[in-house]
Amino acid sequence: MAMTGPRPILSFMQKHPRWSQLLTLGLFFLAWEIAARFFVDKMFLSPPSRVYGEIGRVFGTKGVPDALWLTLFELSIAFAISVVIGLVIGLSVGLGTFARRSFMPIILLLYGIPQITILPLFILYFGIGAPSKIAFGVTHGMFPIILTIVAGVQNLKPVLMTSARSMGASRWHILRYVIFPHMIPSFFAGLRLGMTGVLLGVLLAELYVSTAGIGHFTSMFTQSFDPTRLLGLISVLAVMAIALNEMVRRAETHFSRWKS
C-alpha cells in the first residue's frame, strides 16, 4: 500500500501540529546541512552543525561581544524612549477631538515616509556611535505606539465617560480609572508593534554603518567569505530579536486578559 496519497500525513498533522512543525524545521535544517556539505561552495554556505559548533568562534572574535551588548543596549534605550514619546504624543493627540483631527493627518503623513531615505542624515547628525542608532530606532518605534494609543483612546465608549462625569469624577479620576484601564490592551499591542519597529530601525542603522558595531563585522565576514561566522552572528541577533519580541508579546497577553 505505497500509494495511499497524502491522507495519512494530513491526519498526522491534524493530530500533532506541534510535532509536525518540529519535523518541518528538522527537515529544513537537514536539507540545509546536506546542501552545504555536498553541493554548495564552502565560501558561501556553512552547514548548521558547523555554525552551531563554532558559535564560540563568533564570540571569540575581538569586539563582537561588545558590539552585541551595545546593540542590546541601543534596542532597550530606543524602545524606552519610543514608549515615552508614544505615550505623551498619543495621549495628547488622542484625547482631544480637535487635536486628533488636526495632528493625526500630519502624523500619518510622517509615518508614510520611507524613513530609510534619511538614514544617512542620522549618521551625519549623531555620528556612527550609539546615538544615531537609538535615534533611528526611536523614529521607527514611536509611530506604531502613537497610532495604537490614539486608536485605543478613540474606541472609548462615550457612555463610560458620561457616566463617570455624571458621578462627579474629576479629570484625573477619568484618566486614572476610565481611560488608563481601557487603554491597556491597545497600549500593549502598540508596545509589540513598537518593538518590531525599534528592531528594524536599530538593525538597519547597525548594518548601514560598516566602520563600527554589527555592520563592521557583517561586512568583514562577508568580504572574507566566512559564512560560518556570518551565520553565527546573524543567528545570535535573530535570537535576540525573537527574545525581545516574545517578552513584549507575553506582556501583552498577560495584561490584556481582563478584557476577554
Binding site: 494530513l10 498533522m13 491534524q14 501540529p17 509536525s20 512543525q21 518541518t24 524545521l25 558561501f44 484625547l95 482631544g96 477631538t97 480637535f98 487635536a99 483631527r101 488636526s102 495632528f103 500630519i106 508614510g112 515616509i113 520611507p114 530609510i116 531615505t117 534619511i118 538614514l119 544617512p120 542624515l121 549618521i123 551625519l124 547628525y125 478613540q154 472609548l156 462615550p158 465617560m161 458620561t162 462625569r165 479629570r171 477619568i174 518590531t196 528592531l199 528594524l200 538593525l203 538597519l204 548594518l207 548601514y208 555592520g215 557583517t218 561586512s219 565576514f221 562577508t222 567569505f225 559564512p227 556570518l230 551565520l231 546573524i234 541577533l237 535573530a238 530579536a241 525573537i242 519580541n245
Partner: protein, 262 residues
C-alpha cells in the same frame, strides 16, 4: 482641549477649517524654521542646506534627467522582487489553505519566521548574490513574501464553508469551485496582502540599496551624503519620497478599484 471628553458629534465646518489651519500653520512654521535657521541663524550648511538651494537642485535633477538610470534600476528590482513574492506567496498560500491540517501546521510557522527582522538576511544575500541587483531582489522578495502568503491563507480560509458546500452540491467541478467561489471570496483579503507586500518590498529595496549596493536611488543618497553634497542629497530624498508616495497612492487606488466591483 475643549474636546477632552471625546465628542461624538460630527465635525462642523468651522472645526474642520480650524483643523486645516492648524495643519497649514504647522507646515508653514516648519518651513519657516528651516529657512530662518539656514539663512539667518547660521546653522552649518553641511548639516542643513538652505531650502531654496534644495529646490534649485531638485529642479536640476528633474530637468537633467540624471535620475533615470537609478530610478529604472530601483523600479526593476522592485518589479522582479514583487513578481517573485507574488507568485510564490499566492501559490504556497493557496496550497496551504487546501487543508485545515496544513493551515494548522504551517500558518504559525510562517508567522513565527515573520517575527524575525528579515533585514538580518541582507548580509547573507550580499554574500550569496553580491552587491548588485540580485541581493536587493532577494531581500525584497523575502520580506514581501510573508504578508502575501499570510493574507492569501487568511483570505481562502475566510471563505464561508456554506458557499463551498452549496457550490459542490450544485455539481461544481474543482476548477469551477476555485474560479467562481474561492477566488472571488478571498480576493479582498489577498489584495490587502499584495498592497502590504508591495509597500514593504519598495521600502526594503531602497533600504538594501542604502546599506550595501552599487547603484539605485538609495545608493545615490548615500553617495551624496558621503560627498557632503547636502543640498543635492536633500533634493534626492524629496524625490524618492515623492516616488514612494506616488507608488503607494497608485497601489491603494488599485486596491480600491479591485474591491469595488463586488
Amino acid at each position: 482641549m475643549s474636546g477632552f471628553h471625546g465628542s461624538i458629534l460630527p465635525a462642523t465646518k468651522r472645526e474642520k477649517m480650524a483643523s486645516r489651519a492648524v495643519q497649514l500653520s504647522f507646515v508653514v512654521a516648519l518651513g519657516g524654521l528651516w529657512y530662518f535657521a539656514t539663512n539667518h541663524w547660521g546653522v552649518n550648511p553641511l548639516l542643513l542646506p538652505k531650502p531654496q538651494l534644495v529646490f534649485v537642485e531638485l529642479a536640476d535633477i528633474l530637468r537633467s534627467g540624471e535620475f533615470w538610470p537609478d530610478l529604472v534600476l530601483t523600479l526593476s528590482e522592485l518589479g522582479a522582487a514583487f513578481a517573485i513574492s507574488l507568485s510564490l506567496g499566492l501559490i504556497i498560500g493557496f496550497l496551504v489553505s487546501l487543508s485545515p491540517a496544513l493551515v494548522k501546521v504551517f500558518e504559525p510557522l510562517i508567522a513565527a519566521v515573520y517575527a524575525v527582522p528579515i533585514i538580518l538576511f541582507l548580509p547573507l544575500y550580499v554574500l550569496f548574490f553580491g552587491l548588485g541587483a540580485p541581493s536587493k531582489i532577494a531581500l525584497g522578495a523575502t520580506i514581501s513574501f510573508f504578508p502575501i502568503v499570510l493574507n492569501t491563507i487568511a483570505g481562502f480560509i475566510s471563505v464561508e464553508k456554506v458557499y463551498v458546500t452549496a457550490a459542490r452540491s450544485m455539481g461544481a467541478s474543482p476548477t469551477m469551485l476555485v474560479r467562481y467561489v474561492l477566488v472571488p471570496g478571498a480576493f479582498p483579503v489577498i489584495l490587502t496582502g499584495l498592497r502590504m507586500g508591495f509597500t514593504v518590498a519598495l521600502f526594503s529595496i531602497i533600504g538594501s540599496e542604502t546599506i550595501a549596493s552599487l547603484a539605485g536611488l538609495g545608493h545615490r543618497i548615500v553617495h551624496l551624503a558621503e560627498a557632503m553634497e547636502m543640498a543635492r542629497m536633500f533634493a534626492y530624498i524629496v524625490f524618492v519620497i515623492g516616488i514612494a508616495a506616488t507608488l503607494n497612492q497608485l497601489v491603494s487606488w488599485l486596491e480600491k478599484k479591485g474591491t469595488s466591483w463586488r
